[in-house]
Amino acid sequence: MRRYRGLALTAAIIALLPLALPNNYYYDVAVRIGMNATMVVGLNLLIGYAGQISLGHAGFFGLGAYASALLTARYGWPPIAAMLAGMAGVGLIAFVVARPILRLRGHYLAMATLGLGIIIYMVLVNESAWTGGNDGMTVPGFSLLGVTVANERAWYWVTGAALLVAITLANNIVDSPVGRALRALHGSEVAAQVAGIDTARYKVKVFVVSAVFASAVGSMMAHYIGFITPQVSSFFHSIELVTMVVVGGMASTYGAVVGAVILTMLPQLLSSFEGYEMIVFGLILMGTVIFLPRGLLPTIAARLRKTG
């Protein structure tokens, strides 16, 4: 029963939050938080549990977003089919690059994923005949079986459901032999291999899973906003995603959610710091990682366990 406590709490928060949201703008922020949270729950499996860095995940996000945009806007595909096609495509790409990339460690891996993300970004910018280039392209709304998800409130429920599904999936992976293998290889890859774990296979698996998460959320975001630009694949967006994992709590699914909440609300809160946003953001980044190296949630949890 204990493992469902977190899930139940999250579900309760999602169900009750609307009582505190006065207008569509707040719903909008909540939806963005939800989407980011769904995405980083997947990314956390890669970075937090498996200990593999990726500085290019926004690339997968962008591929999913543009796949949905192109297939629905240009070819009239039903949105759900486009989204699934995007996920399949991205999963394939991730699978193909995963093996060679994940042979690298530490900074080399960071650099390779960075390169991948930037190349995807450049392709999206330069192939403007397909993607509309830097000026972006319009994305039709999301509809399933004739029912359109029309406004922020509807999207709130869709996103909430997606988040719960993501958390359940992530928890299942973590609590399974796969999860244990991931944590083993995080601790010491050589030791895990000595213990008989096929580390390469597990690394590839978690890389692909996190990429597919990213693609799915990318598709959702594209339909929600109704417009995308290549900025969604930018290096800075990849950094934002990694920051959510690191700040909220590595190797903690709910930590990732907390990270998403904080980082998504930050631009809104910083909007009054006219001109000083970058300074504040940089300080927060450095400060959190230096003083709370395991992230917010695990540190708080450890503190509570000590006193409790």
């Binding site: 970075i47 200990g51 860095i53 500085l55 060679p100 990339i101 690298l104 460690r105 530490g106 900074h107 080399y108 960071a110 650099m111 390779a112 960075l114 390169g115 991948l116 930037i118 190349i119 450049m122 330069n126 010491s188 050589v190 030791a191 290096f235 950094i239 990694v242 920051t243 690191v246 590595m250 001109g275 000083y276 946003e277 970058m278 300074i279 504040v280 953001f281 940089g282 300080l283 927060i284 980044l285 450095m286 990682v289 230096i290 003083f291 190296p293």
Partner: protein, 291 residues
């Protein structure tokens, strides 16, 4: 035809010189601490930006350059003391995020102090281009290449002949052993950051007349510098310089003979190919990982 290729080469060498200096900075810090300093590009930016602000306040150029390097070196020291040291033995991901956070912080400060616009530094010896076999070269490019060469020689002397330099090398090879023979590795770490920052600042000052400086000029330069360092072999000074020059040349040739649209993709495609097939880079040492 020759003059066209020659022109591409000049363009490649000019850019390559900046990348080489940036790459040297990366290698220095990586050697001393194993940290990849994502804020390296910002050191280049700070150098250029400080020099521009000082000269427009009336400070004569040589003094402005000296002060700009000093200011940036101070920034490097601050970064090491306030951000890297407190982090201790943090995970690689955390260190990367810290330096990225520092990079954003420096950009933010520059944005506030310098403004959001772009400004140019006056070229050191005028901007009348030199014609060579039909291709034109700016005097400032010669300054850049020349400064790069002087710095590389100075660094070689530093590492070979001075105790501090040898201490840095020793720490790079084996930190524990260096500590055992009495080298203050923390001191070494600080020095490497200061040196790196100074290198970056010089690169920034010497390239500002050509590239125009602004608060965000460091991002791409930093990334490409890292690619150059990895190409040449992280941790190798010769590699850094070679990597920088090769990268600059390949970019120019790709833009000239293939497609100018994807010119900026060259470094990143290159880095992926290198990492897949030759992760140690051209001159990198063979690394054995201890378990």
């Amino acid at each position: 035809m020759l003059s066209q290729t020659l022109q591409y080469l000049f363009s490649g060498l000019t850019n390559g010189a900046i990348y080489a200096l940036a790459a040297l900075g990366f290698s220095l810090i990586y050697n001393a601490s194993g940290v990849i300093n994502f804020a390296q590009g910002e050191f280049i930016m700070l150098g250029g930006v400080s020099a521009v602000m000082l000269t427009s306040a009336g400070v004569p150029l040589p003094l402005a350059i000296f002060l700009a390097v000093l200011i940036t070196a101070a920034a490097g020291l601050l970064l090491e003391k306030l951000a890297i040291e407190p982090a201790g033995n943090a995970e690689v991901v955390s260190l990367i995020i810290i330096t990225i956070g520092a990079s954003i912080f420096f950009q933010g400060v520059a944005q506030v102090v310098f403004g959001k616009g772009q400004r140019a530094l006056a070229p050191f010896t005028g901007d009348a281009p030199i014609m060579l076999a039909g291709a034109s070269l700016l005097p400032q490019s010669l300054w850049m290449i020349g400064t790069g060469a002087v710095i590389v020689l100075a660094l070689a002397w530093f590492f070979e002949r001075t105790r501090l330099g040898k201490a840095l090398l020793a720490t790079a090879h084996n930190r524990l052993a260096a500590q055992l023979v009495g080298i203050n590795t923390r001191h070494v770490l600080a020095v490497s950051f200061v040196l790196s920052a100074a290198l970056g600042a010089i690169a920034g000052v010497v390239s500002a007349p050509i590239t125009l400086t602004s608060y965000d000029v460091g991002i791409m330069l930093g990334l490409k510098g890292f690619v150059a360092a990895t190409l040449g072999g992280l941790g190798s000074a010769v590699g850094a310089v070679a990597g920088g020059l090769i990268l600059g040349l390949m970019e120019a040739l790709a833009a000239g003979y293939i497609s100018s649209a994807y010119k900026d993709a060259v470094p990143f495609v290159l880095i992926i190919l290198i990492l897949f097939f030759m992760p140690r880079g051209l001159f990198g040492a063979r690394v054995t990982e201890r378990v």
